[in-house]
Symmetry: C2
Subunit: 406 residues, 2 copies
Amino acid sequence: MLMTVEEAQERILSHPFPKMSTERLPLLQAWGRVLAEDIVSPEDVPGFTNSSMDGYAVLASDVQQATSDHPVALRIKGTIAAGHPSPDSVKHGEAYKIMTGAPLPAGADAVIQSEWTRRSEDNWVLALSPVKPGQNVRRQGQDIHRGDKVLEAGLVVKAPIVGILATIAREDVLVYRKPRVAIVATGDELIEPGEKLELGKIRNSNSYALAAAALAAGADPVILPPAPDTKEAISQRFSQASTADIILSSGGVSVGDFDWVKNVLSEEGSLDLWRVNMKPGKPVTFGTLHNRPFFGLPGNPVSALVTFELFVRPVIRVMLSVHRWQRTILTLPLYEPFLEIHDRRHYVRSRLVQEGEKLYVWPYKKQDSAIQTSWIGAEALMVVPENSGPYKAGDLLPVMLIPADV
Amino acid sequence: MLMTVEEAQERILSHPFPKMSTERLPLLQAWGRVLAEDIVSPEDVPGFTNSSMDGYAVLASDVQQATSDHPVALRIKGTIAAGHPSPDSVKHGEAYKIMTGAPLPAGADAVIQSEWTRRSEDNWVLALSPVKPGQNVRRQGQDIHRGDKVLEAGLVVKAPIVGILATIAREDVLVYRKPRVAIVATGDELIEPGEKLELGKIRNSNSYALAAAALAAGADPVILPPAPDTKEAISQRFSQASTADIILSSGGVSVGDFDWVKNVLSEEGSLDLWRVNMKPGKPVTFGTLHNRPFFGLPGNPVSALVTFELFVRPVIRVMLSVHRWQRTILTLPLYEPFLEIHDRRHYVRSRLVQEGEKLYVWPYKKQDSAIQTSWIGAEALMVVPENSGPYKAGDLLPVMLIPADV
């Protein structure tokens, strides 16, 4: 009996992961990080009632009858610019010229915009239209009241949040520390990208791809040197990895004779091996090692990234206390037929095609997990249920958006 | 006559922006950057024909008749592990035990997976099923041929691309330098987040929010101190900004008496002021200053971020030579009614609501551009055509996804 992806995610996430500790960062450095404090505003926003237009601060009752044929003349007492306190109050028959953002003078209850006025003699303005009380006025505290909880811990600090923090006088903010993810590739066949290739060897690409995926998930990757296929080497590398918050290995978990990862795990930690209803991706290995969450990912580069996306990224997001760790899922029409049928749920590497306002999902042709090039520019994983298909162009399928990573 | 957003974008992008210069970065530092070179593979991938399973390397013709009732016995010549060259060739009646990723020995043309075999005496294995030639075999060069152009300049370096670069022996890669975006907020009313508030003053939040939006767009923001409302101060600040690749100002472009930005621009550079069919957002100011693209953004924080999104971000992406600068646009059902009707196209700050596989757009209640808090957690701008509405729950509207920024 195969486990569903959702069951495996639930089992993994039911573990009591430690919450990350926090650090205080200047606003701009906090961009992209996760808020670790609720933010209460020490001030009203706006801090004072002000004009939302360039125009004239007036008493609305003075201009109730104003029209372009029968304008109402008001005596101009002066000009109020943004950044300067209003000098005096407005009484019946008076107006202050006022700039956008400038404080409304006492007495005034509305602003008539410049386009609806005509200047007559030096100190007189003609109102050509009525305004309602409060019109073109931003009231003190209308956006934020002093003492309001404005932002909640767990929010990702994007540009509008940076703006709000600055608005309410914050120069720095508490965010969660990025989880450190130690990455250990295993296998006698691995050489580094810069080394000379010999028969039987392949380049260690998983360490780099998984490190990039960890960056995209909001973690701090640490690449350890690959471990050859001996129990001692793997055990030693895992010990080195144990200062990190999460430990990943790639390779070394299949049924081959030289797969020592499981062996080391069951002796030095704990280990669950599951058969999950998914393709690509071999059995998912999850466990704990040196009291850290441990993931044994497949050695195949495509399978490694898909299992990272489905199982490791959620743990990183949960450890960061992000409100929602799930990806956005859309239902999109196929741009071309998709003919493959499999007995497991298939996560199909796909592009998105925009035609006007219509968005399509366009799977790459080669879905063999040995084909890394089918993931260049991929923006989504299309989710094809087991034993379903073939699908025609236009058929609707769920699509996981993977906007900036994996 | 109002210009459409698309016309304004086209006019801006028709300017001959300089292409960014390049820099060479180690793989992991290149994550999230834009490729500045086409990448040709110096090697075949896989580099040698190998097994995709743990099993036995055989001649397919030897096991053509094999069934579990009538197994075919093959003599085991040895074991081939990943990372080690295959010692010898396979002849009729022979097999090599072989691990995933290990090189296929000469003579063999298929691999029988372990599950379809039974070990008999020490050096014999029983094949319980036929295999086709090529089955469970990954052929040399099946993913990438030596000399293939694998990646094109203009791709954003995501995790799978990092993996491919490592696979084809790259330790570093040429990417475009991030455009430097100088940000100058203007206005006598501005004080910094850490300063004490006085009547009439507001905190400079735009510099920080725009800097964060620039980071999200792939640029390198430089915040200059805000300029008070004098021509000299603004002119001086713009001179300081001219070492950057793009210059942004916020505030100081409306019709108020104290708006010196336009003044300085028309004397020292060139300036176009357009009325664009959009809300929020005042007239868009685009020009050149000291031979750099210049944007005069509104002082209102919400308008500043929306105009950045629609006009500045595209320029950053084009200067970075990214293949596609447009955002993904979906057509989504409304989660709740949307009743506001405006005479301009309305970019409505919205959340996405996931219910199972169904995705909805959920606009924030307060869309007044003075309300910054309506953008906390926003993931999208819903695009409401001018003079349209009201809309019921379930009505379909176009939605611009803004996944990781603005």
